[in-house]
Amino acid sequence: MKIHSILDTSARVPSIAKIETGNMPDIRFLIDLTTSRQYKDRNAVGIVRVEREIGRAFLLSGFIVEFFHFDLGAGEFFKIGRPEAAAILGETKGALDGAAAPPRMATKTPRSPEQADDDDLRLFLGQLKNRLGTVAKIAEAAAHPQDNDEVVLEFFNGDVIISAGLLWDGNFMELLYAVKQQMRINVIQVVYDVIPTIIPEFCVPGMNIRFPKYLLDAAWTADALYCISDCTLRDVDNYLRAHKLPAPSLHRIELGTDVPDEGRGSLEIRTSLDANDFTLYVSTIEPRKNHAMLFHVWRQLYQTDRDALIPLVIVGRAWWNSSDLVSMIKSAEYLSPEFIKIMTDVSDDDLDWLYRNARFTLYPSLYEGWGLPVAESLARGKFCIAADTSSIPEVAAGFADLIDPLDLVTWTKRIRHYLRAPDDVRKLEAEIRRGYKVMSWRTAMERFVASVAQEAQRLQGVASTGPVAVGR
């Protein structure tokens, strides 16, 4: 197996027959960075984080990779040159320094990551790390002036397009479908959830129109859908079956949780809260996230358990349909701001401090595609009381207290219990530290890249440009 550096200019040449790949077909991976590019100067959140992690993983994979973005106004796909891609992907601090790349799928027969030989993997990672260095070096070495020009992306037979962006706001699946009618390309799409099709009343207005189009076009266009949880995978499968839509192959993509080294937190955050004397709910404020239920719990506990009550810290911006609730919280002067505090624009460092110093965390969301704050809490050994719905039990992995998010009475009872029994919380935290397995972004992306490579091989072997059949 010959591993080619991504700095090799041949990687940008459509003719990719120069690569020795063993059984691996000559596949060019086209990675969509449209959403990350839009969020370039903003804090990485959720979907942007996943898109960037995928971009970084493929950048370091040794595969033939190009990056692109879709310009909705022009209706065109444009290449993103290596310097710009590195700038976009390197924004998450330190994530690429010393990062290992996943192995290239170069075995005679496709193998799952679990089957891969550990020695081969270590050797491969060492080689790759030596060859590539850090993102800064990549960007420096790969800087080609022509890469900064807006160049329309050309598709070639054998391309595999990977998208993990916010496609419901800039849906280009229809265009990819048109390309697929002309060429042998494959499309892989990451699906986060299908919540707008399940509880549209809890989604921003207009999503009942935009989201089904995205999902419909993805069903028709994508060859594989990677879902961020088993729950999402089931939901997608149910949707495709219920509507008799074409069925791409369905897979899991695991999401990572990187725990930074413990920081001090800002002076502001440390002086505004007493360590271990507050609870934490990290989420934008919107009806689906069910903040109203916690508000009622705190109202009740203020009446019945004021001596044990500690602040509920909500970290997140007030988003759509939440102004009434925020107004009510602020009007409850006996609670706000002493017992309910809303914080926005919290830095990563302060957020880490909040997680580590909360007595416990809360996550009563009505429905999720994943539930990252639960993972972030558990990854720091912090106990969480969470909703028992959708994907949240998967994230909790048996280490959170799960309650029906509509059961106000039980939430009140359990929160009261944990407030009055700190020893129980400490015991649960000890169990989390002993048993909870943190999935790092590195491992998650290694598995994803390996799975995509395997799927790409399969697709390239069976790819068809014929029309997709109606129904299943």
């Binding site: 089904p212 509507h243 129904g471």
Partner: protein
Amino acid sequence: MVKILTLCTYPVAVPRHGGQVRVNAIHQIHQAAGHSVRHLALYREQDYPDEPSSPWNIHFSGWFINELLAIGGRTDVNAVDFLLRDADARDRALALIRDYEPDVIQLEQCWLWPLIKTLRGASEKFRSLPIVYSSQNVEYQLIAAASGDHGRPVANETVTLIRQMEMDLVANADLVITVSKADADVFRPVARQVTIAANGIWPRGPAGGQDYWSKELRRYRFALFVGSAHPPNATGFVNLLGPSLGFLSPLEKIVVVGGVGNLLQNDRHFRENIGQNLARSMLVGVQDNGGLSTLLEMADVVLVPITEGGGTNIKMAEALYNRKLVICTPKAARGFEAFTDMPSMLLCATPDEFKGTLVKALRGEINTRPALTFSQMERLKALLWSSTLADIGARVGYLAAGRHDPEQARA
């Protein structure tokens, strides 16, 4: 010169929907025969914003529109109630009719028959005037099958009253004009004289907006569905193509022209999957003749998804005459039986058949431009209004002269 008065619950100077197009065509045929024509229309002004003002156009008052909304009434069925309760409007209508001194009164649908009946009861002169009843449907059957304007079913008692009114008009009419044999068969036992004048079309006018539509639709193969805000149009679409248009690929669309688009957007079944349905359809509203010509020319196939209601469909005639591939139901083919052997007419009775044929047409698995023989093309000329209404001008002229049967008169 014979003076002909037509009456109905819509204006006809700027024809959009099928009913308007038909009455407008009848006017043109009468005028071409040298007759004078006036049209008294009673309607909700906002429904026909393009219509020029005319003393013959009488609009419902606000209080009446609110009352219709409150009782779930219909702007056609309940129209005469407005005249019965608004003395000013009634007097205005009667003054116009009296001043015009028509030789023949032609009612398009039966809704304003009570007004004319009252007039006849009060005046010997009007009692002896020939009456023509012309309708695209058997109204009481259509009403029984369709829902009210606001989705409420029409009460059986109301259907009975409508039936009584319609059949009373048929019995009192000197001539009944239907669009199909099926409708004629319903009226024949009661009517004195029935003639069938199928719906037709005018040769297509010049195309317009080609640049715009070429750009909008450049990526898609599409089916064209043209329909007015006539409830059976939406019902047929949803029944045959629902519950979701997700069976169409991202490069396939249904372009929906006319007021039926508004009905669809408010239809419960269409809304259940509105995201998917709007992803695969374009509801482009009412288009002028130029735009419609362009869309008809560009369309790969024309849909006529009619599952209820009577009458015949003008869109069917337009599509056939313009050599388009038509996917239609047997019900939609009523009145066009003479053309069912044509390769451009695909009859589909079930939703699966309808959808499957549409998909095949859009994917090029069916020839969307089938060749017609010379004789088939000649037969298509029978679809023009000038052919379908050829008999009407003469018959009405003879009625005005007091003779009921042109054959008899000729003799």
